[in-house]
Each structure stands twice: as C-alpha cells, then as structure tokens.
Symmetry: C2
Subunit: 260 residues, 2 copies
C-alpha cells in the first residue's frame, strides 16, 4: 500500500467550542457557509438530523455544538472527506459529541432500497441540512449553449438531493439548504410538493451589494405560504468586521430565526 | 340614464410633480407599491412602455414623471378605473404629460389577434410594468383544500399576464413586476423561457421584519443568471419615517438600480 501525505489544519469554530480537522488543499474547506446553514436549525431542536454531503462535518458539528439534544448523521460520498470527519470526531476537544454522531459513507443521490441499505431509512430523520455542490449547479445556468446538457444534469442533481431529503425526513420534519441565488428557480421547482412553509433568508455581504447565498427552510408536507424572512447582512458598509447578528450566528450564539 | 356619484381624491406624488385622481372607495387605490414598481425602470429610459393593469395610472405617471423620454400606454380592463386615468391625464397639473400617454381599455389576458386589435401589437414595447391582482393570487395558495381549483386558475392568471408581456415586448426589452413574496414560485415558473437576466429586489418594512413585496426585473429573451439585488428597506428600526433611499425612490428621485 502506498502512503499519501495530506496536510491538514485544525480550525476552531463557535469561539473554540468545537474543532474541525480539514485538508489544506484537496476537498472543500468549510467556513461561514456551514455555520450559517447550521443556524437554520431552530433553537431547542431535539431529534435526529442528517447532514447530507457533510464534507468534513462542519455544519453537523455546529448543530451538535448549539443544540445539545441533537443527534447528527454525517452523510458523505467522499471517503477522503469522511476520514477528516472521523479525525474531527475522535479529537479530544470534541469528545462530548461522540455519543451523538453517526457517519454514513454514501452517495446522497442513492434511491430506494440502496439508500435504505446505506443507512438512510425512510422517515427516520427529524431534520435534514444540505449544501448541494452548487459550483456544479450554477456553472450550468450560464448562457453557454454547450452547457445545455450539463444544465439538465445539474437540475437533476438538485432534484435528486431533495428526493433523498423528502424520503428520509418524517412528515412535519425540517429541511435547511444553502445555495447561490442563481439556483432559486431550480430549488423552488425541485421542492414543490415535497416541502412547504418555505422560509427564505437572503445573505448579503453588505446592505448595498447583491445577495451571495440563499438559506431555504421548509417543513415536510406542509402547505403553508412561502415567506421571505429578514435579510442576513454580514458586514457594515465599510470594513471587514461582522455585524453583531452575523457574528452571533457565525459563532453559534443565535439561530437564524431568533429575534434581533 | 342613471347617475352614480363617486367621491374622488386628488393625491400629489413625487413631491408635487404629478397629481393622481382616484376614487375614494371603489377600486384599487394606488400608493407606494406603484411608486416602487415605477422605480424599476432604469434611469434614462427612452421608448415605449406599457403599464398593464394600470388602474388609475399611478405607476405609469410615475414613469412619465421621472423619465422625460418615456411614452406610456396605460392598459386597464376596468372602464371605471380608466375614467380616473382620463381625469388624471386631463388635469392641468399634468398637462406636460399629455403628448406622451395613450390609454387602452383592454383585458390584459387577451390573446393573439384580439390583443393586437385592442391596440397591443407584438414586439411594440420597450418595457412593460405590471402589478398583477395579487390579492387573488396569494389567496389561492393558502392551505385550504377547497381552493385547489382556484389556485390553478390563479397560477393561470400570472401566466396569462406574462404571456401578454412576452408578446408585446421586443427582444432585449424590459419587464418590471411587483408581487407578494408568496407568489415567488408562480412568477419564476411563468417567467421561465420568456424573460432572463432576472433581478429580484425584496422589500422589507424594517430590517427585522419579513419581506412584504418582490420587485422582479427581467430582459426579454435574455439567458443571463438570476441575481438577488440589495434589499429595499422602508423604515428605520423604530418610527414611521422612511429611510433616505426609500424616500428618494418613493419620490421619483432614484431608480431602484441607482447606487446608494
């Protein structure tokens, strides 16, 4: 067997309340997107949550850190990325989470029996969070005609991820998703008839700039109206400091739904 | 012939730069929605614009007031409401607009030849603005099962309005639409393949409250990505005073796209 040397970092989140082991170069590195995604789980959440496409597990661990009665299953296709989730889980700084985490190495787009056998049983979760691979998806909806086929495939990807979420979340359970604004139509189309009571939060770097992310929250089988909730603005008009609400959300001190 | 006594008001807009004659009780009364809708026409716009479902003409007159090279056709099904547009047009305070306004009494949902004969020729406008009757539409997407059929009919209404906009706007021409956030999915679905380069602006009464309106801008036959532009917030955290940007937009001093 060969030996691959991978450089890794240990990053603290939530003001030091948990630590994440991540690869330095290969694979997606987590940051604020994961923290904001985790913040869409309501305060006081209790139950089973699946982090679909968890990568090294940043969002899932952020939920564990803020919600002491949450049990989190990290679902990740990449053996490489999941190995970092394992390192994170076994790190002494995170020992209090150990009994509340499960790891599933599986492709989120698995269907039916294959999905069940991978450990994702129907109606077995109270909440699903996901950060679909949106670089692929938004790359598809450029005006480039040669990407038409890829566009179709990518829309299919969003649909496949939401199909899995729909299958594994119990009726009345929740969904939290982070994506780019350009994916709005694909998401609303794929979510129709599956999740309702949709709440959307747009994330703006500053008050005067276009939104860079969407958080979409939904309730399985709800038929309530869609609402667009107060915007989340990250920075003041000038400078790099976070606004107080963004800072509190980034550090696990507020959910996205807390009054402010 | 009988005689119906209708009480009317004369309201000043744009800090007195135009006057609108409106019925006191019957019919929709215009206000800030119409001013914000008109603000989505870019600064310096020159050409023919149709205000679909114009009512007494508030949005159309607001465009005339801010854009001196705009020619505006008010399209309204209600003879009653259009009679107020005529009074507005013939009022001495608005005399400078007279040569730039046309009135069309027609149902926006007319199709093909009937629409052309009503005065709405294909590809004949550079811009369309519309405020579809969203009370009907959002009333449909409540969880009430008995409204399922009405829901379908209402989604059809949004589609019909956008079908007319698509027919009468030249390729490269613009669309501006104001609606409630709950209509987001219906709008994006009805707009697909017709208008692209979508820019959405959400309107919040305050930073801490849910959005109450969407402005959606699009370009006929464009394939550019959807963007979510900076939010428009109307009021400070407390009090009823408008924030400076909202005040300037309400008074025709800024377009919705001007830097601020």
């Amino acid at each position: 067997m060969g030996c691959i040397l991978v450089s890794e970092t240990r990053d603290m989140f939530h003001r030091g309340r948990f630590l994440l082991v991540q690869p330095i170069r290969r694979g997606h590195r987590s940051g604020m997107d994961a923290m904001i995604l985790a913040s869409c789980v309501p305060e006081g959440f209790s139950g089973r949550l699946a982090d679909l496409g968890s990568g090294a597990g940043a969002a899932g661990f952020a939920v564990l850190s803020r919600c002491p009665r949450a049990y989190v299953t990290l679902v990740e296709h990449s053996h490489f990325m999941l190995s970092f989730a394992k390192k994170t889980l076994s790190h002494p700084a995170n020992s209090r989470f150990f009994s509340r985490v499960g790891l599933v190495e599986a492709d989120v787009t698995l269907r039916g029996k294959a999905r069940n056998q991978a450990g994702l049983a129907d109606n077995s979760f109270d909440f699903v969070i996901m950060n679909p691979p949106f670089n692929d998806i938004t790359g598809c909806i450029t005006p480039d005609r040669e990407k038409a086929k890829a566009h179709f495939m990518c829309s299919g990807l969003m649909d496949a991820w939401l199909r899995t979420a729909t299958a594994i979340v119990r009726p009345g359970g929740g969904l939290g998703l982070i994506a780019r604004p350009a994916s709005l139509r694909e998401i609303l189309s794929a979510i129709e008839g599956r999740f309702g009571g949709i709440k959307i939060v747009y994330i703006y770097p500053r008050y005067s700039l276009a939104a860079i992310r969407i958080i979409l929250f939904g309730i399985r089988a709800s038929r309530a109206d869609l609402k667009v909730m107060p915007p989340l603005v990250l920075h003041e008009r000038k400078g790099s400091a976070f606004l107080p609400r963004a800072d509190a959300i980034n550090n696990g001190q507020l959910s996205l739904w807390d009054a402010y």
